[in-house]
Amino acid sequence: DTAVSQTPKYLVTQMGNDKSIKCEQNLGHDTMYWYKQDSKKFLKIMFSYNNKELIINETVPNRFSPKSPDKAHLNLHINSLELGDSAVYFCASSQGGTGDSDTQYFGPGTRLTVL
């Protein structure tokens, strides 16, 4: 039973294309995130949604647009892909607001390669 799932696992595309990555969590969590992991393994948050509402929007080009149709799903759409967008993108979720600890559960990642 996958807790946080992402599709596709691999995505190879040409510069200038538009692509989407889908994320679903079956943990009943209220908060979902998108992270980018670059070639040096550095993990950086991009967006966070709580109950379909945007909470965190880091300095990310507006070519990246998250969409949350419901609290179990957070999709990432990327317009006009550039070479520098090549990375592994991780979706994560957490219960949020517990005030004591907040484990984030990560998906398996989507490796995006822009040619």
Partner: protein, 113 residues
């Protein structure tokens, strides 16, 4: 601006030895310090976490030591095993804030027989 600094970048330890990874943070508003473990081709997974009201937390072979005045915390892996070979990330967040995790740069740990 790197708010959480992690060292070393890579570490090789003999089987049965102690692996030690260090992190330092700048923002005194951070109040939650987790460590994540990532195997190749997988997403990070929570290993152990600590709040600043305690100086040490132990779970099995894994221990976090926390020094609030120095703004440092470290992960100790006792009796290191080949299965511990992975990349380890420290992180910090403000549970009272937006709970955003700020990650360290990662340490690639290799346990050799």
């Amino acid at each position: 601006q790197q708010q959480v600094k992690q060292s070393p970048q890579s570490l090789i330890v003999q089987k049965g030895g102690i692996s030690i990874i260090n992190c330092a943070y700048e923002n005194t508003a951070f109040d939650y310090f987790p460590w994540y473990q990532q195997f190749p081709g997988k997403g990070p997974a929570l290993l152990i976490a600590i709040r600043p009201d305690v100086s040490e937390k132990k779970e099995g072979r894994f221990t976090i030591s926390f020094n609030k005045s120095a703004k440092q915390f470290s992960l100790h892996i006792m009796d290191s095993q080949p299965g511990d070979s992975a990349t380890y990330f420290c992180a910090a967040s403000m549970l009272s804030g937006n709970e955003k995790l700020t990650f360290g740069t990662g340490t690639r740990l290799t346990i050799i027989p």
